[in-house]
Subunit: 144 residues, 4 copies
């Protein structure tokens, strides 16, 4: 079992739509938050990583969610996140939203190791993920 972190969210009134259930883009808002927390929990807070490696974060390549059951105001959700796969320049983060023991939503974000683009100011390009970043997660993994 790889290292994972859990974020708890209590669904608010304003997170829900006129059908009374969570308006789906909010799950992606929570996924983004959960990814930041995953790296923090893994000992690699995004800000520190950016400074240390002169990179600019982990921008999205792709995001996806499958909705299995609706969630309602007041539901207490657990969002369980882990890096499913490390690629050379990208990584896949999986998020499972558990609602009272039931899997409500499955999400996946593909993010890349963001370096400043040499030629296009304001744009990023994907760089190689440092081996010690992967190892750090591996180290944590072994301890988990």
């Amino acid at each position: 079992m790889s290292f994972q972190s859990t974020m708890t969210v209590t669904v608010g009134w304003g997170d829900c739509d006129p059908a009374g259930i969570v308006f789906y883009p909010n799950y992606f808002r929570w996924f983004d938050d959960a990814s930041w927390r995953l790296f923090e929990a893994g000992g690699l807070p995004m800000d520190g990583m950016a400074k240390h490696y002169d990179m600019l974060g982990l921008p999205l390549v792709d995001a996806r969610a499958s909705f299995r059951a609706p969630c309602w105001r007041g539901d207490r959700l657990e969002i369980v996140s882990h890096v499913a796969t490390w690629h050379r320049k990208t990584l896949d983060i999986e998020h499972r939203v558990m609602n009272g023991g039931e899997l409500a939503v499955e999400g996946r974000e593909v993010r890349f190791w963001g370096l400043p683009h040499p030629d296009r100011p304001g744009r990023l390009k994907a760089g190689e993920i440092p081996v010690e970043v992967k190892a750090q997660f591996g180290a944590v993994e072994r301890k988990a």
Copy 2:
């Protein structure tokens, strides 16, 4: 070319994150809006459809986006949407976010024809999409 609708969005300050680019969950917010408008443009506004067919909307099965280029505050986006595929009980809606002629984001929502669940109050089940709904889009298609 199938029937499509276009929604214009000017990226606001509050749509963007500290990197200065659109915070990605906002694209899904716009996709949801674009889907409502697609059906309205196709002559089948969601509310009217719900009343006429005694259904409860088109809830999400799955949502996905691929991010090709960042968008910035003030960018004027065109979100071009169409039903890519009609299945028996579900449909695939494709959204392309164009930014100054460049494809910035590609999205896809899978939605189901939502009927009240006979046994589980507050839950929906997928029903067969009426042939005239598909035909209406087909009819519009031919006219477009």
Copy 3:
């Protein structure tokens, strides 16, 4: 000191704007959430209250915030809420956002006791707040 509840929020990346600070409408999103929690903490969860008194919630009359210091991603905010004044048909809820011991934002919501409007379907009208609701908060107050 009257009964108060505290909600903790860790500022997320997506809560912040390109200046790197919390985009101000998010404070109101948190205030709404904090009001729900205040009533729940006071033993009068909004849903239960609605059912028991045949009312429809506590819609907003007025909302306001004063911004004293910006908050940043990762800041751990404490939102301290209490009913400042009970009027006949309305109540004033005060929210103080504390950030590391500093008062960052002061907010106030005026809400009314929402009854179904007798003549205008879908609209609400303000009704008298039951004395036992005020007393319940008073009772809690005395214990606090």
Copy 4:
């Protein structure tokens, strides 16, 4: 009548809460957007102003809204904005949300002329609003 700009918003499904009406923080999101557009319409786009005057924007001192009538999905709102009062270092922007000819929400933002704080990095301090900025709005005013 002073210079004003109008922003049109069609209320989306995701802008509304389980009561079916606009979740109130969204009005503030629209107010922020409307303020950017007001300055752009007045010939002083925020970005250009920031560069030209070496300032950092118009951060909020205070924001407020009074809710007179609920708005629903599909409602086509007109948000009419103008600078109500220019002070030495701050300005008051008023926003009126019109829904089918009815005043639905009245809002007010107090913003300050944001200069980099000389002693506290990352903080801003209020500076004097340049006379030509006020004149520009005045000039526009006379033409309007």
